[in-house]
Symmetry: C2
Subunit: 325 residues, 2 copies
DNA sequence: CAGATAATTGACAGCGCAACCATTTCTGCT
DNA sequence: AGCAGAAATGGTTGCGCTGTCAATTATCTG
């Protein structure tokens, strides 16, 4: 039995006779042999891995997305290689470099805004690239997301239609995706003849429940609390709910609160949180499926853009504006 | 300029003269050269990567833990390789095999219960191994966690001291960590002369807000709702809070609710959730630090076990038992 | 049963880099 | 100027596996 036969037995068990396969299996388990993937990758020029770049691991949004990617990629015998860009374009560039060094066969990346060098790296790597979550006017390869700005418009209009004139926008560090929602907010406000700037409240921290509390304090410090608050995500909204209650303000009586993403807990807050439901799982699943297809049939041209949509979910935390005393 | 000099310039820029380094840098960026890590790993027999195995990505607990691991490992020039075992011992074994195939230099793994084959693999790999979250009587290498069973005892005793006689235990799929907490609950109940079995309610689904709702429905279906509910985590507790409210039960008036982990939102629920705070970030940070140290000074014997502790955080969702009508 | 085809097994070279050692160039000193 | 020693650079080899093609053995057909 030669080395090459063992190699084959490991990769394509069908092409080796049953008894040889058995003796190889027993030998491997008694010796505790573990094939060296680095050597395999070098020799075959195939890494069987896909790079996945997310801005943070500390967010359920991306956890669901990653879970979906894993569930699609693993059965296709592709190992996801998850790297965290920590919301930094420079770190993202480093991450891309690292992944390309690993010779990943494709890259799935959150966002469409990269450093020029990063973009060049992705373009010249000649591998499938999927940009996700945000819509790109000029995608590198494929693009999966939904109209974040339109979601911002719809959400703001919904509050305007409830009669609100002063609508706050609460957000922490403004990344690409937050910025699109903010654009939508501004557009809808302007369109309704309302001030699109005055009620935007922001802080450089990452969005979190605690930040929601802090943002409401900031709003209160500035003067009257608007009659509605559009929060960048459900965590901030939950914090806002809490801070408003602490200040003796009722929701939605005094203030309406609107979140974003429809996280697990949104239906269970008090009052139940109105929000915009987004499809994180589907985004990841689609991105991974498109990657697998692109790898399995490189030539074929298919749809480059997929919209996973969103849905306004009105619950109890938003209500009609009432005349201020 | 020879290939080997370039190789050196890339790895140890200090050992190469400045002007040569410059010309190499420009050449690399014009050519778009990206070193092949597989070849580097093969030649140097160093992978510069550390395997990290978690049961799921879809849980903030592990997200914080992973974030901490990343923050420690990356500056030490070690690439974390995160693999998801999907709460399955078999999948975990496959994950270990995959990681060893990549020749990871160490493995950080959640839990201490593995298949015999998996344990053998870890033992014979001769690399640092850190088992986390649960305490092991017989660790493979290092072990970081806290006394989960004692936390279960403390939490249950706290409810007993509030005068509760009927204390429900709500849990989904019972993994190693849940099982230790359940053990603690049983012990404390027995010790107080209370029934340690009757009020344990479980379902095979993964713990989530939705499951908390379902578990309370199940509890109600079985008869009287206990005067206190010890929930396996804060998500389940949040669902329980919601379901109790829907059924017209007040918290903590009719029912006290206790969570676990002290997630972000726990202080902001209505009423604020009493819970047991755990140190996920510290667990990950310590695990990664011990890994780095073990890799940098292989011989030295150091402490194998670290306790990151826990802390009971009483808030508004628990209160004294009142006489039932 | 010869000959042909299919199934199985083996030999060899090379993937791209880094360890090791050899060589060249530079520096400071008498 | 001449030399020792340090600094910088280069040559050779092999890491462990797989692609390609060749050789062997089993199986089938008329």
């Amino acid at each position: 039995m030669s080395a090459i036969t063992v190699s084959r037995a490991l990769r394509n068990p069908d092409t080796v006779s049953a008894k040889l396969r058995n003796s190889i299996d027993t030998a491997i388990s008694t010796l505790g042999y573990v094939p060296n993937l680095a050597a395999s990758r070098l020799a075959s020029a195939r890494s069987h891995s896909v790079g996945v770049i997310v801005p943070t691991l500390y967010n359920v949004i991306f956890a669901e997305y990653l879970q979906a990617i894993h569930e699609v990629l693993l059965p296709a015998r592709l190992q996801p290689l998850v790297v965290n860009s920590r919301y930094s374009a420079e770190a993202e560039e480093v991450a891309i470099r690292t992944l390309l060094g690993q010779r990943v066969e494709a890259i799935i990346i959150v966002g469409t805004e990269h450093t020029p060098a990063a973009r060049r790296l992705l373009e010249t790597a000649h591998i499938p690239v999927v940009e996700t979550f945000a819509r790109s006017a000029n995608p590198i390869g494929m693009n999966i997301g939904f109209k974040l700005d339109q979601a911002g418009i719809d959400a703001t209009r919904y509050l305007i239609e409830l009669g609100h004139k002063e609508i706050g926008f609460l957000v922490g560090a403004i990344d690409e995706r937050a910025s699109h929602r903010l654009d939508g907010y501004r557009l809808a406000m302007k369109e309704a003849g309302l001030d699109p700037v005055r009620h935007v409240v922001t802080m450089p921290e990452l969005n979190s429940v605690g930040l929601g509390v802090a943002l409401v304090e900031e709003v209160a410090k500035r003067g009257t609390v608007p009659s509605a608050l559009f929060c960048i995500d459900d965590n901030v909204a939950l914090g806002a709910l809490h801070a408003l209650r602490s200040r003796g303000l009722t929701v939605p009586g005094d203030v309406s609160v609107l979140g974003f993403h429809d996280l697990d807990f949104a239906a269970c807050t008090v009052p139940a949180l109105s929000t915009v439901a987004t499809n994180r799982y589907k985004t990841g699943a689609l991105a991974a499926e498109m990657t697998v297809k692109a790898l399995n049939s490189p030539g074929s041209k298919r749809r480059k853009w997929h919209d996973v949509g969103y849905r306004l979910v009105p619950r109890a935390s938003t209500g009609p504006a009432r005349a201020r005393v």
